[in-house]
Each structure stands twice: as structure tokens, then as C-alpha cells.
């Protein structure tokens, strides 16, 4: 990957010009046609659409259609202009100047000005659950209606990614700046005003979302007249709808059985390698407060016993990929130059013997509980692996008891209160390590009661120091160096043992649809280049 293709290459001017047909994230750009309705089936049931203050896939996908952002990403983590036409990062990294597109308007006809941008970014900083995205943002200056200057407390290499859909959203100040609590604003679900390629035509909770073409969109497209997102609670119903051509697209799908079945249909294309920035890292987390698991040798022995290839090839039918560390493969800071723990049961047994965990009369050394996150859509990543651990770890004398939680709050309640030995879990990378990775390992993020904090109770001052440096390092190569070191240490310390990355797929009817986005954010990206073939 070229240096200049990465989003934040040091202090260079990373301005780019949008060229029609060569714009971010489109699989086919030839002869797009106007018109038609795209029907998507999913289980999305958003609380609301305001992506400036709410994360989560259910909000992000429609949010990216309703609200434009300053920048957008393509399939290679390269930044492209969106509401901002060009941008410049100051040499000291403490400010970023962005020029806004002239003549861009909100759905209600108001001009989009620097005041709206300042309002939106501050709303994002103060309300969005991913605090790390805009925490260093001190002030947003608005020298002219078409220019903003972001003043930062410290250099912030994750900033440019945080400015892309779906992590932020430019929302109109004249609508959301009326003093009401923005997280509960009535316009988050009704009469939503953004500036994205589509406007909200109808939202029937638990049933459907209908988006209509924004005729005054400030960029090329959109080609579709309408997007209908139908909530089909059962995957079986989604499959039937896809097979019979009643729906055009299904997204965020990872079940190997579903994908293998849909792949057989010649009208359906199953994509892969999208959604890389989401980075769902499926791992076994260890509670370092637990007696045996506080011993790194026990964690390493478990790592030598777990077969990632068995999981990805046999359990997931080749639809997922092995994960080797805290940062998922395919992202700019990933390295596989770490201890990979290829399966070696003899070695695992020897480590445990040497560490003094002798086998009892029944051949067992000790017992560990394993929990898993209960969600039908990812059962083969969570439940199936938890169950696989039972016979597999028996081979090294560890008796595993699978504890079943009936629903997400039950599991979350155990894990966030540190009431677990091992648990399957799947935190997301969210594009930049500062946003989705640091939180699991920083010792100052050991916060009882908070899910997806450092619930493992892992504390390593060397890791803390490396992450502190990597979080503010603007030079790409230096930053990569920090993260390479970090990944090496993590592979040794193993507060979690990453097993695989859940690969999200988009499935679409290739006789009906073209231009499906192949960006790192999958369909949580403006669908302004997608079009119907008939």
C-alpha cells in the first residue's frame, strides 16, 4: 500500500479530487441507470437515525443515507471528498482545515454552512458513545461559511477516519440546535433532515424504513428512486425472499450455512472482503483475576490447544478468516509477525505440567467456565466455539463448563461485572485502533460495570505507553511500528486469544442490482452509486 493512499499520511496535503466514475466504493461503475426501488431485507430496528450521536449498525446504515459526512472511505481505507472538497493538516498536527462544498443543501433547502459542521462535530464529541473519536477536538472555528478549522488538544491520526460515514454525521443546526436533548430529539425519527443521497419517506417501527431519492443531492447520483429496508426477523424468511427475487439485497450476513445456500443460486452474488473497517474480532477473553488464568502460561497453553483453522474451515465453512491479534487483517496497522500459536497439544500439555498444574485422577487439571454472547446471527462464532472448547481443552486436561445466557443483557451483566473465567466475545475494531482497539488493553480503562472496556483486567505499563504514543503519531510508518510492537506483546501476554474475524457479506441479486459498495464500511456507506438493472 502506498504511503499517500492511507488516510492520514503525516503532514502532507491529502486533498483529492472526485472524478466521476472513479469515486470511492463502487463495484461496477459502467452505465448506471436512473430509477427503481432497491429492496433490502435485514433485522434492523433502529432506535433512531441520528448517526451523530448514536452508533450501531441499525442506525449507521440508514444514517449514512440520510446524513452526509465530511469525508468518505473507499475499499482501501483511502479518504475521498464528500461534503469537504479538500483539507489540510497543519504541520504540528494540532489543526485541520477543511473547505466545504459550495451550494450543498440540506433536505429542507437550507445551505450547509461551517456553523452546521461545527455544531455537528461538537454534538458528536459530546454525545457519541465512541468518545475516542473526537475527544481531542477542542474547538471548531468557522472563518467563512465554507471553511472550518478543527483545533485539537493533541495530534489525532484517527480523526480523518472519524470524519467519514458512518461514524459521524453533519446535522442541521437549525433543526437539532433548538436546545432539546439531542439524543432524544423528536426529529431523530420523524421529519429527519440531513443532506445525504436519500431522505426519510417513511419509518414504521419494527416493520420498514423507506428512503426516497434526494433530488438536490450535491454529488453524482443517487440512481435509485427508493430504498426499502424491510425488517424480516427470521433469517429463513430473508433467504426465501432473496432466492425468489422478492428482495434485491441482504447485508451484514455472516452465517456460513446461509451464505453457502445463497451462493448456490446463480442469480445471487455473495461478496466478501467488505466491512473490513468494522473488524469484528471474535476472541476468547480471559479474566485475569481468575486464579489459573492470571498465569500467562495457562493462557498460552489454551492458545496452543485451540485450532483456528478448524474453526474457520470446518465450523465456518471457509466464510471467516483467522484472526491473529488485536488488530484485524486487512487494516493498515495489521501485522502477522507475531507468535501464531499453531496447534500443538503436546506443547500445551508440557507448559501446564511445567507450570505445576498436574493432572488429577480423572486426567483433569482444573475447571474453567466459558460464556458466550447469545445472538442467533453469530451462534457459529460464539456458541459453537464455546462448545468446541469443551472437548478440545479436555485434551490438555482442562475441564470446560459452558455457561449459557438466555439473552444479551444476562451475558453482558456477567462480563462487565467480571463474573466470568473465559468468555467468547466479539468487539469491533471500528476502523482505527484508537476507536475500537485501545479500549480493551489500556489499564486506565479497567472499569467495572462497563461492557467492552478492559474487562479482562489486563495491565501492562509498556502497552499503555506504546498505545499512548501510537494514538498521537502522525507519521504512518512510525505509527505502524508502534502497533507492530503492541501486537507482538499482546500475542505474548494473551489477555484475549483472537480466533477469527467474522466476515460480513453482502448478498445481492446480480440480475437486478449493480454498483453495490465495496467500501471498508460495507453498506454503512452512502448508497449513491448503486443502481437497478431492470
Amino acid at each position: 500500500m502506498q504511503k499517500s493512499r492511507i488516510l492520514f499520511s503525516g503532514t502532507k496535503l491529502v486533498a483529492a479530487v472526485a472524478l466521476a466514475g472513479a469515486v470511492a466504493g463502487t463495484a461496477h461503475a459502467a452505465d448506471p441507470k436512473r430509477g427503481g426501488t432497491l429492496t433490502i431485507v435485514d433485522t434492523a430496528n433502529p432506535r433512531h437515525f441520528n448517526a451523530a450521536v448514536q452508533s450501531g449498525v441499525a442506525t449507521m446504515v440508514p444514517g449514512a443515507q440520510l446524513f452526509a459526512t465530511l469525508l468518505r472511505l473507499d475499499g482501501q481505507f483511502k479518504t475521498h471528498p464528500y461534503l469537504a472538497t479538500d483539507w489540510k493538516i497543519a504541520d504540528d498536527g494540532l489543526s485541520v482545515t477543511l473547505n466545504l462544498r459550495k451550494g450543498a443543501k440540506f433536505h429542507d433547502g437550507h445551505d450547509i454552512t461551517s456553523a452546521d459542521v461545527a455544531f455537528s462535530l461538537k454534538a458528536n464529541r459530546d454525545n457519541h458513545p465512541f468518545k475516542a473519536m473526537f475527544a481531542p477536538l477542542q474547538e471548531v472555528e468557522t472563518p467563512t461559511p465554507n471553511q472550518v478549522v478543527l483545533r485539537l488538544k493533541q495530534p489525532h491520526p484517527a480523526l480523518m477516519l472519524a470524519l467519514t460515514a458512518p461514524l459521524s454525521a453533519i446535522i442541521p443546526k437549525h433543526v437539532y440546535g433548538d436546545g432539546q436533548n439531542i439524543k432524544k430529539h423528536p426529529r431523530n425519527t420523524k421529519d429527519v433532515v440531513g443532506s445525504g443521497p436519500f431522505r426519510l419517506a417513511a419509518f414504521k417501527r419494527r416493520e420498514h424504513i423507506i428512503l426516497e431519492r434526494n433530488d438536490n443531492y450535491f454529488m453524482e447520483g443517487p440512481y435509485l428512486d427508493k430504498i426499502v429496508m424491510q425488517n424480516f426477523g427470521q433469517v429463513a424468511s430473508q433467504i426465501i425472499a432473496m432466492e425468489q427475487g422478492k428482495a434485491d439485497m441482504m447485508h451484514w450476513s455472516s452465517s456460513s450455512r446461509t451464505l453457502a445456500r445463497l451462493k448456490k443460486s446463480k442469480n445471487l452474488t455473495v461478496t466478501s472482503d467488505h466491512y473490513v473497517a468494522i473488524g469484528p474480532n471474535n476472541w476468547i477473553a480471559f479474566n485475569l483475576k481468575q486464579k489459573q488464568l492470571s498465569d500467562v502460561r495457562v493462557r498460552q497453553a489454551i492458545a496452543y490447544a485451540v485450532d483456528r483453522n478448524f474453526v474457520t474451515k470446518a465450523l465456518h465453512g471457509g466464510f471467516s478468516k483467522p484472526s491473529t491479534g488485536p488488530i484485524v487483517p486487512g487494516t493498515p496497522y495489521y501485522t502477522d509477525a507475531v507468535e501464531l500459536y499453531d496447534v500443538d497439544l503436546a506443547k500445551a500439555n508440557k507448559i501446564l505440567d511445567d507450570a505445576g498444574y498436574g493432572k488429577g485422577g480423572d486426567g483433569m487439571r482444573f475447571t474453567l467456565k466459558v460464556d458466550y454472547l447469545p445472538a442467533a446471527a453469530i451462534d457459529e462464532n460464539q456458541k459453537a466455539i464455546a462448545e468446541y472448547l469443551k472437548p478440545q481443552l479436555k485434551k490438555i486436561g482442562i475441564n470446560v463448563v459452558v455457561r449459557v445466557s438466555p439473552d444479551f443483557p444476562t451475558w453482558s451483566n456477567y462480563v462487565r461485572n467480571w463474573d466470568f473465567d473465559m468468555t467468547m466475545d466479539v468487539p469491533f475494531n471500528w476502523g482505527d485502533p484508537v476507536i475500537g482497539v485501545h479500549r480493551t488493553y489500556l489499564s486506565n480503562n479497567i472499569k467495572k460495570g462497563v461492557i467492552w472496556s478492559n474487562t479482562q483486567n489486563y495491565a501492562n505499563s509498556e502497552v499503555d505507553a506504546i498505545l499512548a504514543k501510537a494514538g498521537v503519531e502522525l507519521d504512518l510508518d512510525k505509527r505502524k511500528g508502534h502497533y507492530a510492537k503492541f501486537q507482538k506483546i499482546l500475542a505474548r501476554d494473551l489477555p484475549v486469544y483472537p480466533v477469527n474475524v467474522i466476515a460480513y457479506h453482502t448478498v445481492f441479486n446480480n440480475k437486478a442490482v449493480s454498483g453495490v459498495p465495496d467500501t471498508v464500511w460495507g453498506t454503512a456507506h452512502p448508497l449513491d452509486r448503486i443502481y437497478k438493472l431492470k
Binding site: S55, P129, R205, S237, I240, K246, S412, P427
Partner: protein, 328 residues
Amino acid sequence: MANISIIVVKRILNAAALILAVVILNFLLIHIAPGDIVDTIAGEMGGISPELIAEIRADYGLDKPLYEQLGLYVLRILQGDLGHSFFYDTPVVTLIWDALPQTLLLVITALSLALVIGTIFGVIAARRPNGAFSHLITVLALVGFSAPVFWTGIMFLIAFASFFPLFPPAGMAAPDLQPGSLDYYLDVLHHMVLPVLTLALIYLAFYSRLSRASMLDVLGSDYVRTARAKGLSERVVVYKHALRNALIPIVTIAGLQFAQVLSGAVLVEAVFTWPGLGTLALEAILRRDGPTILGILFFSSVVVVIFNLLTDLTYNLIDPRIRLGSKE
């Protein structure tokens, strides 16, 4: 008869006390379940900060002691306010009101179909209790009643939505149709077929067995023999004399079942993504959306209590032997 109004008032007070007890019990039960709405919100957002956790808890009053939360809730219920859904930030009354018609449509259609067809099946079977049709009904009833409804539903899905794609697999109507138009109603009808069939199958099994047994009972009674002895045609004996009496237990049971209508459709709604009260309740439980669960439970317990009250009062009017409040 003079003290009947006192008895009615007593009954209503009893019912109110019962509902209050149900509210308190439900409230406590939900708080025993591990985790709360913060878990759900954090889960759907993919992360949360301690500040946001504190804000949500304070916002929804979850930071107050349990007795205070309960007191506030009961006070609000007394004012007729079911509160706001944590997850949707919408009044619970609105959520229930939006979902109720869909459930009623589904259940009443299934129940009526089952009642009519089941009774007819039962009568035909009772006329030749050892005939082939009678045995067929017995087997059908056994299967229909014992097969789990979600399994039947999925089998129907595979058969009639996938293998023979005659019906849509989920939902209530195509989203782009205008509610109120003829096309919309036809589409709803089309979407209804599989869930109604699935649900009706259980009731059908039940009513055909009930009506067969009830008919057999009545057909063996003296007055039917007398009717036959008078030389009346078999048709008149069965449908005019016997069926009338045989219907009494069926109607009673149907009336009682109506009270359970709201809970009957949860699984069927889940299988077919039918946007009714059942799926709303299921989602609310999985999400720990306290006010929504409590609202639905409150609503259904009120319905059950009212139906029981009406049944009691009706008995009192029809049958002097079941005088309310009588000491004998």
C-alpha cells in the same frame, strides 16, 4: 337482587386489587432478571462510556432505590400513564396501540376459522364415532395440538413460501402499498394465510375434539332418543336438537380463550415477523425494556380480569343456581 350492585362493586374492587398485585409482582420479577436497558443500548451501539451509562440510568430513573421506582411506577399507572419505552423513547400506550390491531386480526381470524371448521369436523366425526373420518380427526387433532407452533410455522414456510412459493415469507404487507387501498388489504390477506393457518391448526385440533366429545355426549341423551322416536329426520336431530346443546361448552371455552388471545400469538408472530403485540413483548423482554414489558403485561392482565368479571356477572344473570355471593 337488591344487593347485586354491592356485589358488583365488590367484584370490581377485587379485580382492581388483583391488577395492582400483578403490577407489583411483574415489576419485581423484571428487576430480578440480570442486566438492564443499559446493556441493550450498549450492545446495539457497540460500546459505551461510564458517563453515558450514568446518564441513561438517571434519565430512566434506574439510579433510584427499587421501592422508589416501584412507587413512582404504581403512581403513574394509577394516573393511566404506562410510561415511556426505554428502547424506543415512545409512549408505551402508543406502542401497544400500534401493535394491538395486528394481533387481534391474526388471532380472531384464526380463532373464528378454527371454531367453525372444528365444530363441523367434530359433528361429522361424532355421527360415526368409529368411522374413518372420526379416526382421521383424532389423529389430526393429536398432531395439530402436540406439534410446537413454531415448528408448524417453519414447515409451512418451507412448504408454501419456499418450495411452492405461493405466499410471502414474512411481514404483514408490502411496505410501498398505501394503507387503506384495496391492494393493501389484498396484500395483508395474502400475508395472513400462513400465520393464520399455523395458529388455527392448534385451535382447530382443540375444537374438533371438544365438539366431537360434546356431540357424543348429547347424542346419547334421552331427549335425542325421544326426537328420533318422534320420527324426525337424522339431519334435524343432529343439527337442530343435538348441536344446540353441544355448543354450550364450546362457546364457554371460546369465550375463555378469547381472554388469552393476546398471549396466544407470540411464537407465530415471531416466526412470520408479524408486527403484533407478541413480537413487541418478546423484543421488550430480550431488551430489558421495562416499561414496555410492564405495559403489555398490565394491558393483558386487565383484559383477562375484565373478561373474568364479565363471565361471572353473565353467569349470575343467566343461571340462578350460580348466584353471586350466595352462602349455600
